[in-house]
């Protein structure tokens, strides 16, 4: 039950996704970073089919950088969003990518912007948006509490409200979320919201439980 949403505030844009990697009924990991940093001032949050998600977002990231290297100037957020849409649209009637995206960026002349791009390559510039089952709860919550030019503190309060709503009301809700921000200082990770920690490292080095066969079972 992947969840992605984003909003634009005063001089910044936030993108939030869940961080669960799920295969059928198994949660493989709960710290999967689904928000790719495309370049210094762009974020691409992606959810959907896992293979497509990684392949397509890496492809877009490399092409955005290639443009910058070839031409000496970075793409604007609008250009990057439209390029991504074009790639999705071209693939749509051949071998479609099943990925939903929120693209956030900050431009010197435009300020922050956020784009909704769904899996059939419908692109729309929005102030707030979300996709997935979580969006059924979040969109109305954001309609009620979102204001234009929110400060970062108020925006994070809204984000936390949204995450709480998803956690409490969505049947198979993801435990952890990642929040990334893009503003004049660049695109970077802002915070995590965890309820479950992935176990790190190999299994414990303590002595293994004795096997019944190790004991002398002579009758």
């Amino acid at each position: 039950m992947e969840c992605i949403f984003g909003l634009v505030g005063d001089g910044f844009a936030l993108v939030v996704t869940d961080t669960s990697q799920v295969q059928s009924i198994v949660v493989q990991k709960t710290n999967e970073d689904k928000i790719m940093i495309l370049d210094s001032h762009k974020l691409l949050g992606v959810t959907g089919e896992s293979g497509d998600r990684v392949q397509f977002s890496e492809y877009i990231q490399k092409n955005i950088l290639l443009y910058q290297y070839r031409n000496g100037i970075p793409l604007s957020t609008s250009a990057a969003a439209n390029f991504t849409r074009g790639e999705l649209a071209t693939a749509l009637r051949k071998n479609p990518y099943e990925v939903n995206m929120m693209i956030a960026g900050w431009d010197k002349d435009q300020g922050p912007s956020l784009y909704y791009l769904d899996y059939i390559s419908t692109l729309h510039k929005v102030e707030k948006g979300g996709m997935g089952y979580g969006a059924y709860f979040l969109l109305s919550l954001m309609d009620r509490y979102y204001e234009k030019n929110m400060s970062l503190e108020k925006a994070l309060e809204l984000v936390d409200m949204c995450i709480e709503e998803v956690r409490s009301r969505l049947v198979v809700s993801p435990p952890n979320f990642i929040i990334k921000i893009v503003d004049k200082d660049g695109a970077r990770e802002l915070a995590w919201r965890r309820t479950v920690e992935d176990k790190q490292g190999p299994p414990s080095a303590a002595a293994p439980i004795a096997s019944p066969m190790a004991e002398d079972v002579s009758v």
Binding site: A89, T122, H124, V126, G129
Partner: protein, 204 residues
Amino acid sequence: MSITSYNGSALIAMVGKDCFAIASDRRLGVNFQTIACDFQRIFKIHDHLYIGLSGLATDVQTMHQRLNFRHKLYQLREERNMRPETFASLVSAMLYEKRFGPYFCEPIIAGLNDDGTPFICTTDLIGAKQLAKDFVVSGTASESLYGACESMYKPDLGPDELFEVISQALLASVDRDCISGWGGIVHVVTPNQVITKTLKGRMD
């Protein structure tokens, strides 16, 4: 749900006295969920030619980009703007090219000829052109739109009256269709000016 009613749309174009009006709703939805209330469905090709595209939003955007490209190329080659009939034929041909894998959009073309007479036409998703003398409609609310336009339309309306008629017809129809609405936008085009107004209807 049918692919053409995935995003929801409503479009009308009407002919007046030496002017035309083209109007659309503004909702962008995904089935029953509303994503935005400021989606653009009517695009300016040149000062006296507008195209409105209903149906699947991604194909609306793709068609608009392709048509823009073709018209700009035409402008470079011919050093003039395309006439509305020519453009309608272009749209029809482009749609029929994809006969066995079509764009799921149904355009309305509205323009002013060189002599100032208005021209409107619509095509289906595979390019069957339909010219009309009074009004054309398209979108998920098309059945309501036909009824509303038929009863409200009068020939030879001036720009202001035409704006009133087309707005009322649009708002009345989208109120009966749950997947279109959330406001409207109307362009009234005369030989000398374009008046664009946004409508606030029932936002639901």
